[in-house]
């Protein structure tokens, strides 16, 4: 079944010279993960998102909406990217999700995807 791995990170860890180096390490970790999936034959897709500060949010309330500058969630940990992987069970998905590099504060949410009907 398909699972989405939502990567939420405190982006401040990637600020400055040290941060740039850390970003390189993190990206290398992601590359390694993609390689492991390819080797294991795990079907996957994913994207890296630009910084939370580049987000625009449409907020709805009972049929009316307003635009907001910034991400939907008002936290220090922004959605920074996601993967969709196709594995047998939640435990397999969690095993992979644990391997996503998160050098600072953050969280990886694992959620099953509704299967397509038909």
């Amino acid at each position: 079944m398909q699972f989405m791995l939502l990567i939420n990170e405190d982006e401040s860890i990637y600020d400055g010279d040290e941060g740039a180096k850390r970003m390189e390490e993190t990206l290398a970790g992601h590359m390694a993960l993609a390689k492991a999936w390819a080797e294991k034959g795990v079907a996957f897709s994913g994207e890296r998102l630009k910084l939370g500060s580049t987000a625009t949010t449409i907020r709805w309330d009972a049929g009316t909406h307003t635009l907001h500058d910034g991400p939907f969630a008002e936290t220090h940990e922004e959605l920074g990217g996601f993967y969709i992987i196709d594995v047998a069970s939640l435990d397999d998905a969690l095993d992979w999700a644990r391997q996503i590099p998160v050098p600072g504060k953050g969280a990886v949410e694992v959620r099953p995807i509704w299967p397509m009907e038909g």
Partner: protein
């Protein structure tokens, strides 16, 4: 054995086999309940109750599945239910899937407060209102919790396979922790208002895990801990309903068969050669149980084990118990110092902490200070059995300032 007991005994195996086969906890529970009713109405009692229930329940599930598959078509007559040939031709129709079901109910992806509840509901068949009482919450809250947990098992992709052995560690930790919570809820309630059937179910579940995981020393340790606590259940209240502390219990009321069972588990665990907090906690309780044979408690051993426990799993209540043991080996001043060193405000206002302090003050002859601590404890919402006990202590202090023990 009466039929209700036999049905309860058969339940873990039958439900586990059904749940794993059909990957559906609700379906398994419903089919088992139907089969149990059929059995009660059945004219003669089958030789093997569990097998009979399994075959009947499985046919019920298959009928339901077929009905769903034939949506809109006229119902055929379903197969006769009591086809005993099925049972007699198969040597053992039920695969033992109990461990799988325990691992599913105690999956780390489920909310910790829902895990034991789910296990008690699905595996032991406890009613939701009974489980709610065990966890000191409302029936509606507990119902919601269990329903949510079941939905997560169904929708989150939790596998119905036994996880590979390398993954057992984390699962087992979750299993043991949830059982420990249940145990705590059942036994640290000094009120004596806990339904004895309930603590029996927690004990059964613990014994089941010890039976299924005989190579896991901490699983054996937890089972021993729970059984040792149970062994003193009959001695915990006096005739007036007041709590009787361990030091004053009549050891003739202890259940020595349960103590023996626990001792065997601990011996077996020791052979594995890796210690852990549950084994240490059980060893402490076993040391207390030895009083029935030795006439005295080896407080030096108890204090040493609390030191070990503090290193393994430091916690406020362990620190309080350690201080109480210290009093026996190093005196009340040392114990009071240890209590003073505990910083958590939640512990400093807890009854065990206040009562321990009262005990130390009275040992040191400071009966005013002791009375103050006891009054602070009594100002809380205290269960009746403990209230009676503390009130008695307070009046003893007034008459004889050094009598508290």
């Amino acid at each position: 054995m009466n039929l209700a007991r036999e049905i309860a005994d058969a339940r873990p195996r039958v439900i586990s086999a059904l749940a794993v086969q059909f990957r559906d906890l609700d379906l398994a529970e419903d089919a088992f309940a139907d089969a149990a009713i059929k059995l009660i109405e059945h004219a003669e009692r089958p030789e093997r109750v569990a097998s009979w229930l399994f075959v009947v329940a499985r046919r019920k599930v298959l009928d339901a599945v077929r009905r769903q598959a034939r949506q809109g078509r006229a119902l055929e007559r379903s197969a006769p239910v009591e086809d005993m040939a099925d049972i007699f031709t198969m040597p053992e129709p039920i695969a033992d899937e109990r461990l799988r079901l325990i691992f599913i109910c105690c999956h780390p992806a489920l909310a910790i407060e829902a895990r034991t509840a789910l296990a008690l509901k699905v595996i032991c068949g406890l009613r939701v209102d009974v489980i709610a009482r065990l966890f000191v919450t409302s029936e509606a809250t507990m119902y919601q919790r269990i329903t949510r947990a079941k939905a997560k098992v169904r929708d989150a992709g939790i596998a119905f396979e036994l996880p590979p052995r390398k993954a057992w560690g984390e699962r087992l930790e979750a299993v043991l922790l949830t059982l420990e919570l249940a145990y705590t809820a059942a036994y640290q309630d000094a009120a004596g208002e806990i339904d004895p059937e309930l603590s029996a179910e927690v004990a059964r579940l613990a014994a089941l895990i010890a039976e299924l995981l005989p190579e896991e020393p901490e699983a054996l340790g937890l089972a021993a801990l729970v059984w040792l606590a149970r062994s003193r259940e009959a001695a915990r209240l006096d005739a007036s309903g007041a709590m009787v502390p361990l030091s004053q219990q009549d050891t003739r009321n202890w259940d020595f068969a349960a103590i023996e069972t626990a001792r065997n588990w601990l011996d077996r665990a020791a052979k594995a050669g890796s210690s852990g907090p549950y084994q240490v906690m059980a060893a402490i309780q076993l040391t207390h149980a030895r009083k029935a044979f030795d006439g005295a408690t080896d407080w030096a051993a108890v204090a040493a084990m609390y030191d070990a426990l503090m290193a393994m799993r430091p916690g406020p209540m362990i620190a309080v118990n350690r201080a109480v043991a210290l009093e026996k080996t190093k005196g009340a001043s040392a114990a009071l110092e240890a209590l003073d060193a505990i910083e958590q405000p939640r512990v400093r206002t807890s009854r065990p902490y206040l009562v321990a302090r009262a005990q130390m003050y009275s040992q040191l002859g400071q009966s005013d200070a002791a009375r103050k601590e006891l009054s602070r404890a009594l100002a809380q919402n205290v269960p009746r059995a403990e209230r009676l006990f503390l009130e008695r202590k307070l009046s003893e202090l007034a008459q004889n300032p050094r009598s508290i023990s």
